[in-house]
Symmetry: C2
Subunit: 308 residues, 2 copies
């Protein structure tokens, strides 16, 4: 799957992942109205609105990007109907041949991590039959529990040819509270980064590992250090756009081969029509605004990489 991700990045010339993190407030009124007319102002109605919103964005952008990253929390908040919309979104993105990164940030003791890995990346046995449940291609994982919380995910990835992005340095303002604390003179995130590089050896592709890392665009200097510490690790970079990261902050996340990083933008793409810059599209053509935002983001990153 890391090979597919790299091939698609090279084909699209856009190391971009669209964060499909819909909030009801992002969804144009015409879509909400239609969904509520059919299902009422219910969890099912909200889920239908989310699904129709996602579908239209995917329809207008799938050819420009290698991957999407649905944030499961945004679906989980609507309970079962929300998770059905999550599942539908994944299946639809697969039908469009997009790589799907499930932003699930799971992580637990061994047997429990094994269950999460099964549900999101693997196959589950029921009697004599075998099923996939959510079936993402990559999943994000929290490292706080250490190796035996991560290895069950890696084992399923080995079996299924899938991958992970493990949290190393997150994009949020207070990520330093624990992640930046010094251990033997070096911040915790570096220790975690080293572990991710080690874990990555257990599931290597040709040049990059199937086991990637998450490092926030909002911390470019740390990105530079981590890039060197984990040379074969693909880095998923959240925090571009709405969270404050810009193209020039991103260059240090890439290797000299121009690869090694994929940058997420969520709100900046899916709610682009709400920005002044794309307001002329109007709410009716929100997905065209998203397409324009993807094109602008790809150009921003290309320019920054050329100027590196």
């Amino acid at each position: 799957m890391i090979h597919k991700l790299i091939a698609k990045i090279q084909k699209t010339q856009a190391p971009i992942v669209i964060g499909l993190d819909p909030m009801l407030s992002y969804i144009p009124e015409q879509i909400q109205k239609k969904a509520f007319a059919e299902y009422g102002e219910t969890l099912e109605g909200a889920a239908e609105a989310i699904w129709q919103f996602n579908k239209e964005i995917v329809d207008k952008t799938w050819d420009l990007v290698p991957a999407v990253k649905p944030q499961i929390a945004m679906y989980e908040q609507f309970g079962i109907p929300g998770l059905e919309a999550y599942q539908k979104t994944i299946d639809y993105c697969h039908a469009k041949d997009l790589v799907v990164i499930g932003d699930i940030k799971r992580g637990d003791i061994g047997s429990t991590s094994a269950a999460y890995a099964t549900g999101h990346l693997g196959k589950i046995q029921v009697g004599s039959k075998c099923y996939t449940a959510f079936n993402e291609d990559f999943a994000t994982v929290n490292p706080y529990l250490g190796s035996d919380g991560v290895k069950p995910f890696i084992e399923v990835c080995q079996e299924e040819n899938k991958g992970l992005f493990i949290l190393v340095k997150t994009s949020n303002p207070s990520s330093g509270e624990f992640q930046d604390r010094l251990i033997d003179g070096r911040p915790l995130y570096e220790h975690v980064g080293e572990k991710v590089a080690q874990w990555g050896q257990e599931h290597m592709g040709d040049t990059y590992s199937y086991i990637g890392a998450v490092v926030g665009a909002t911390y470019p200097e740390m990105g530079r250090v981590l890039r060197k510490l984990m040379p074969k690790t693909f880095i998923l970079v959240p925090g571009y756009g709405a969270q404050g990261g810009t193209g020039k902050d991103l260059v240090h996340f890439f290797n000299p081969d121009g690869l090694g990083a994929i940058v997420n933008s969520s709100r900046g793409i899916i709610a682009a029509y709400k920005q002044e810059k794309y307001a002329s599209f109007g709410a009716e053509h929100f997905a065209d605004a998203s397409r324009a935002a993807v094109e602008d983001m790809a150009a921003d990153i290309r320019r920054a990489l050329e100027a590196k």
Copy 2:
């Protein structure tokens, strides 16, 4: 909700939470057969088996314990049908007046944590209507992202009179890989514990905070230190029984008032009939075996506390 938890512990004289973490391999054949006859060997069939298994255990134990802790991963691995069984289990336990601790170990950047908090502990607005989704009473939370990943959970808990258990020192063998590393001469888990105590000040009950901690029974000496560091924090203690913790390991997790901790056992209770000790119940009376295991565990903890 912390008041309800404490009142129920005092009434049952059993600081015990039953971990409803069903694996198909725990579920007696007669239940699986019946579920598969009705729904086929499908995800729906597996979910039905899990639900019937849980229901029987709850029916036979609800009067003995204050709380249950369903581990969502064990349901999530069966996709949407599995999560429907999770939801049904929560609703059923509420009907039995049990405190429900959702073992979800979520945690993310602020806006995403807010969505998880809404979905699991809060209410979600859809148009002019308001719904609960999963509606647990407590949730477990991962602290790796720091304050702004935790505070949205606390805010929802304040609104809804609910609580958290935040991972401090987990029960698994490799938990020390990051959690035990020394920062300014003290292990990371102590720094996290101090933060949990601080966060707890923001949502206090009468004697204990609504914001608790998770500390594994498998690390009793660390439990002793953390107990003193977080005097007003209720500690959820996993790792009893199958993971190796015993009654005498637990005493240091309790305060002199005999409160301050609640001990989880999953496999040791729900799959008790598979142990030699309870084998005479047979698979048919598996839930009676669970009841006996709860009674034995409560007695083990009481003895250990009396001998303290």
